[in-house]
């Protein structure tokens, strides 16, 4: 007799757990961008720490990172920050019970807290997209 399958979705369930609202995808992008920023922060400490080795060490480290790949990585960190900060602002208010409406007797078609906060998500995501586009222009065209 086989043991009972646990049927847990695991980390796969964060991304492909089913077809639900867009906020579920905002949740996973928020998580991934948060981890990305944390990894960048740790790397950043090591990179700036190289200055302790003197100017030569600093210049050699910086020249190592002046490749198109790392520049793109830096842009990704900026994009992650823009998304994480603006989505985090929405979550800050939502998780303290604001902008999600009030409890009411459920009447079909149901209007839930998700529908109440949706306009804020749309506005903040448009802002994040704007920041990411303008940031891209600055990184690759205006800043050159």
């Amino acid at each position: 007799m086989a043991s009972t399958p646990k049927n847990k979705l695991g980390i796969r369930g964060w991304v492909c757990g089913g077809r639900y609202v867009v906020e579920r995808y905002a949740y996973i992008i928020h998580r991934i961008s948060g981890i990305g920023i944390l990894v960048y922060f740790i790397l950043h400490i090591f990179v700036t720490g190289s200055r302790l080795g003197g100017p030569e060490k600093w210049h050699s480290t910086m020249s190592f990172f002046e490749t198109p790949l790392f520049k793109f990585g830096e842009y990704l960190v900026f994009a992650a920050f823009a998304f994480h900060a603006l989505n985090g602002l929405r979550l800050f208010f939502n998780e303290l019970g604001f902008l999600i409406g009030k409890p009411a007797r459920p009447v079909f078609p149901y209007k839930t807290s998700i529908h109440h906060q949706r306009p804020w998500l749309i506005v903040l995501m448009i802002l994040a997209a704007l920041f990411i586009v303008v940031g891209g222009l600055d990184f690759y065209i205006l800043g050159e």
Binding site: M1, A2, T4, P5, K6, N7, K8, L9, G10, I11, R12, G13, W14, G17, G18, R19, Y20, V21, E23, R24, A26, Y27, I28, H30, R31, L91, N94, E95, L96, G97, F98, I100, G101, K102, P103, A104, R105, P106, V107, F108, Y110, T112, S113, I114
Partner: protein, 280 residues
């Protein structure tokens, strides 16, 4: 008569791809296909009943009321956790239905999920009215008055049918076995926000544990999937707000804080000698 003939007509043949698992014979779950003659108005549950009556009587699932009230027939149908009895096959609008048991629950057999842990978590939040004087509940002196406004605070959350769909949709439940879960947390808030209840402190340990309310990150899938419009995501956020502001008030009033504030007031140090009297 003609109308009833029309509704009985086969409109479409739909393939039901159903997850099968028998713990006595199977090493792991497998998918099996059945072709079902679908008529207008037929629900997924009707389709499963048709398979059991006509094609395979060994297929197992849980169901009871057939009208979205008991919460027994929750399944994972075409990428969404939903009730088999209140979803019509033709509304799903597909030629193939993939039906699996609810994810994040162990499989007992075929489409039957194991709800033991789910109900155990429900028990831990004490889903009943708690009064400081326990005897009041058995021998009430008078009515527990409640205004319509006070009722409106929790009635939405009292519509929960314990179908488990919210847990199947929740990304936190996908990775955290010990997470209290949207259903139990919602029921926690249902009682904490009830004006007749005095058991908020008794429930604190479970609701605000390390795997309690703060593990919810507002993905919102529970509220989207809930077949009764209970909105667990709202209940959980309101629970967080209540806890946050209660703790804030508590800390503001605590004697330890008052002491610190008092110590901040300036007092002359007796060890420092006073300056001499001014000469001019």
């Amino acid at each position: 008569m003609e109308n009833s003939k029309q509704t009985k007509e086969t409109v479409n043949n739909v393939i039901f791809e159903v997850l099968r698992y028998n713990p006595e014979t199977d090493k792991k779950p497998r998918l099996e296909e059945y072709t079902v003659k679908v008529t207008k108005g037929m629900t997924v549950l009707d389709g499963l009943n048709w398979i059991k009556e006509n094609l395979d009587n060994t297929l197992a699932w849980r169901s009871s009321c057939r009208m979205g009230v008991c919460g027994s027939c929750a399944m994972f149908i075409n990428g969404r956790a939903r009730l088999a009895c209140n979803n019509q096959i033709m509304h799903i609008n597909t030629k193939k239905l993939v039906i699996k048991p609810l994810p994040n629950f162990a499989i007992i057999r075929d489409l039957v999920p194991d709800f033991e842990d789910f109900f155990e978590k429900h028990r831990t939040i004490k889903p009943f009215l708690i009064r400081k004087k326990a005897e009041e509940l058995d021998n009430p002196g008078n009515e527990f008055f409640q205004s319509p406004e006070e009722l409106a605070n929790y009635i939405q959350f009292a519509y929960c049918i314990k179908c488990g769909i919210c847990l199947a949709a929740c990304p936190t439940c996908a990775t955290d076995d010990r997470f209290t879960g949207p259903m139990a947390l919602t029921q926690g808030w249902r009682y904490v926000s009830d004006s007749r209840d005095e058991g908020a402190e008794e429930r604190e340990q479970e609701l605000f544990s390390r795997h309690g309310v703060w593990r919810c990150h507002f993905a919102g899938a529970c509220s989207d999937a809930c077949p009764k419009g209970v909105d667990p995501a709202m209940a959980i956020q309101l629970l967080k707000r209540d806890m946050f502001f209660k703790q804030y008030e508590k800390r503001k009033k605590s004697p330890a804080r008052r002491e610190t504030e008092e110590s901040k007031e300036w007092k002359p140090n007796p060890d420092i000698p006073k300056p001499p009297d001014p000469t001019v």
